[in-house]
């Protein structure tokens, strides 16, 4: 290890030991909203750097979606017969499952940052607390965007095609990402409520696996046992998958649709879901963050 400069050297540069000469640095003039945006960007950038620097995240973001697309297409595709072909049916399901799981990262990362003391460092700085959460959920949005790109590329190679319009395609992608973004806020809230990051990982696995599998994501639901079929029809993941399928033009004419209101109005259901998640968990998370020191 190299040695630290002597106090003489340090003093001569005017930074250490020279209070009289170099006064406290004052913030640049700025508005509250300007500072909030700046803080949000700095926090987002920090999380983006982490995507590049931590190999686990990159594998989770890029390789796992490729693996899922290929596995499901070739393994289930051989056994499941749906109108229009299984690949076309599957892709919206894979998209939905991947972005919902991608959102859980906000929970475990929030819990990890709390544990590591990074959050405490932020809380001694004059930054906006809400910006920490904005940065966190923005990070997930980027991760999910990358995953979507990779999955779409892989899907295209194995024969998936968007059969609607550019508008439909963009709307479908936006709906998937927006739902996941809203879900990130719920996960961020949970991340601040648990004692260790592992709890988030384990619980989200236990909850989200059934939630994404007891849905129309991977199999047609009309032949499921009645309780599962009803659950699946009311499952928000089903609405998300159905919306994406419709917007991508991946629903051939004559495909049966469930009787539940959510199954009949999938896009509206998802939009309501997004609104509810954001309206509840944005203020709740911000309040939770502000109250971190009060327990």
């Amino acid at each position: 290890m190299s040695t630290v400069r002597s106090s003489g050297t340090a003093g001569s540069t005017g930074g250490l030991g020279a209070r009289g000469a170099s006064a406290t640095l004052q913030p640049e003039p700025g508005t509250a909203i300007g500072r909030f945006l700046s803080d949000g960007w700095v926090a987002t950038r920090r999380n983006l750097m982490k995507i590049i620097r931590v190999p686990d995240i990159l594998v989770f973001t890029l390789l796992q979606p490729i693996m899922f697309v290929l596995l499901f297409t070739f393994v289930f595709g051989a056994a499941i017969d749906v109108p229009g072909g299984y690949t076309s049916f599957l892709m919206a399901g894979i998209f939905a499952q991947t972005v919902v799981f991608g959102s859980t990262y906000s929970g475990s990362a929030m819990a990890q940052d709390l544990k590591d003391g990074i959050i405490d460092r932020f809380r001694t700085l004059p930054m906006s607390g809400a910006a920490v959460l904005v940065g966190r959920t923005n990070g997930d949005l980027v991760i999910n965007g990358l995953s979507m790109l990779v999955m779409m590329g892989t899907g295209f190679i194995v024969g998936w095609r968007v059969e609607s319009s550019l508008g439909g395609f963009l709307a479908g992608v936006a709906l998937l990402l927006l739902f996941a973004y809203a879900f990130s806020w719920l996960m961020a809230f949970l991340g601040m409520s648990v004692r260790s990051p592992e709890i988030i990982n384990n619980v989200s696995f236990l909850v989200l696996f059934p939630l994404t599998f007891i849905s129309n994501a991977f199999v047609p639901t009309e032949n499921l046992p009645t309780p599962l079929r009803i659950f699946s029809e009311w499952n928000p993941v089903s609405a998300l998958v159905q919306s994406a399928r419709e917007l991508f033009g991946n629903v051939p004419a004559g495909t049966p649709v469930g009787d539940a209101w959510t199954a009949q109005n999938p896009i509206l259901t998802v939009l309501i879901g997004i609104a509810v998640l954001l309206l509840v968990f944005v203020p709740l998370s911000i309040a939770k963050f502000a109250a971190l020191g009060k327990k």
């Binding site: 290890m1 190299s2 040695t3 630290v4 400069r5 002597s6 106090s7 340090a10 003093g11 540069t13 930074g15 250490l16 030991g17 020279a18 209070r19 009289g20 170099s22 006064a23 406290t24 640095l25 913030p27 640049e28 700025g30 500072r35 700046s38 803080d39 700095v42 950038r45 920090r46 750097m49 982490k50 620097r53 931590v54 590591d116 003391g117 990074i118 405490d120 460092r121 932020f122 809380r123 001694t124 700085l125 004059p126 930054m127 020191g293 009060k294």
Partner: protein, 327 residues
């Protein structure tokens, strides 16, 4: 008026299925402007909790805290613009480089992109981290990590610095190097509150020491005053065999100024004395005359353990333990 003033701070925790812990039990503290005060105490004494209250991280159950006339509890936002905090609880980001960490902190103090970069460069140079500046902190040595952490606290050159156990867990060489840095820092008139488990560290860096135990300040003064309060010098003997302990005790009591305390299964004995050299030569003379073989005999100054033993009736914990979550 003191620059930092804490009065009657009380903070309790209720761990699940355990009795209430009084982390702070009426702690009061005053730090005059431009001085260095050390909070000295074992793990769990309330050092970190005190600093967390003063750096706006936690709210006490009751009591008040004021920094340069600003009420910490009522106006934390203003306090955050004038403090720098460094230590075990306020970590740096392991996935960012040293430079990125400092630049991020500058941005979050709202210095603007240009000044944040410039200040990060200055601090990198000041802390001799130029070669390591573009490596992620994860790969830093313990000493380098503490330096980047300390640099982070200095980004705005704040009038008030909080250093929470700045050298705990470092090897002796890195500790000495870091002491140099802190010393040059405080000679410039920054008001500093630092916590430590090492009397030596407080001795070297602080103008004034507040010894705390069980959430309260139990003694205050300079290092010399504290050492004097536990009886100045001591004579320590190490015996080859622990078989004539009563004879040894008798000799030590005769020349000592207090109780002779055995340890190490009766092989090691320590007694406070008034005139060290005279007492040492007489004790060694009598012990040898009694035919008791000695491994070692010498004078030593009081240690943290002596201060604690005297002030609290119990020994300080092993200072080698980092204790990340310790209050």
């Amino acid at each position: 008026m003191p620059f930092i003033e804490a009065s009657d701070l009380v903070k309790t925790y209720t761990p699940k299925g355990a009795p209430v812990v009084r982390a702070l039990d009426g702690l009061s503290l005053q730090v005059p402007q431009g001085t260095v005060t050390a909070l000295l105490g074992p793990n769990g004494a309330g050092k970190t909790t005190t600093v967390k209250v003063l750096t706006t991280l936690i709210s006490p159950d009751s009591g008040s805290a004021v920094i340069d006339g600003v009420d910490v509890l009522a106006d934390p936002e203003r306090v955050r613009r004038m403090i720098g905090a460094s230590g075990q609880y306020a970590a740096v980001d392991e996935n960012l480089t040293g430079f990125e960490n400092l630049e991020m902190v500058g941005r979050l103090y709202h210095l603007g992109a240009k000044r944040a970069k410039q200040r990060a460069r200055e601090l990198i140079e000041l802390f001799d981290l130029v070669e390591a500046q573009n490596r992620v902190v994860k790969g830093f040595s313990g000493g380098m990590r503490r330096r980047i952490d300390l640099a982070g606290a200095l980004v705005i050159n704040p009038p008030v610095l909080f250093l929470d156990e700045p050298t705990t867990g470092l090897d002796p060489r890195s500790r000495l190097a870091l002491w140099d840095v802190i010393e040059s820092l405080v000679s410039g008139g920054t008001t500093v509150l630092l916590t430590t488990q090492y009397l030596e560290e407080a001795d070297r860096l602080a103008d004034s020491i507040s010894v705390i135990d069980e959430g309260r300040v139990i003694a205050e003064g300079t290092a010399d005053e504290l050492k004097a309060s536990v009886g100045g010098q001591r004579v320590a003997l190490t015996l080859v065999e622990a078989d004539e302990t009563e004879v040894v005790r008798g000799i030590l009591q005769r020349y000592g100024a207090g109780e002779a305390v055995p340890s190490n299964e009766g092989k090691t004995w320590v007694v406070p004395v008034e005139d060290g050299p005279t007492a040492l030569s007489r004790i060694v003379g009598e012990v040898t005359a009694a035919g008791i073989a000695l491994h070692d005999a010498g004078m030593r100054r009081p240690t943290l353990d002596d201060v604690f033993l005297q002030l609290t009736g119990h020994a300080a914990e092993d200072p080698g333990e980092g204790g990340k979550g310790a209050a």
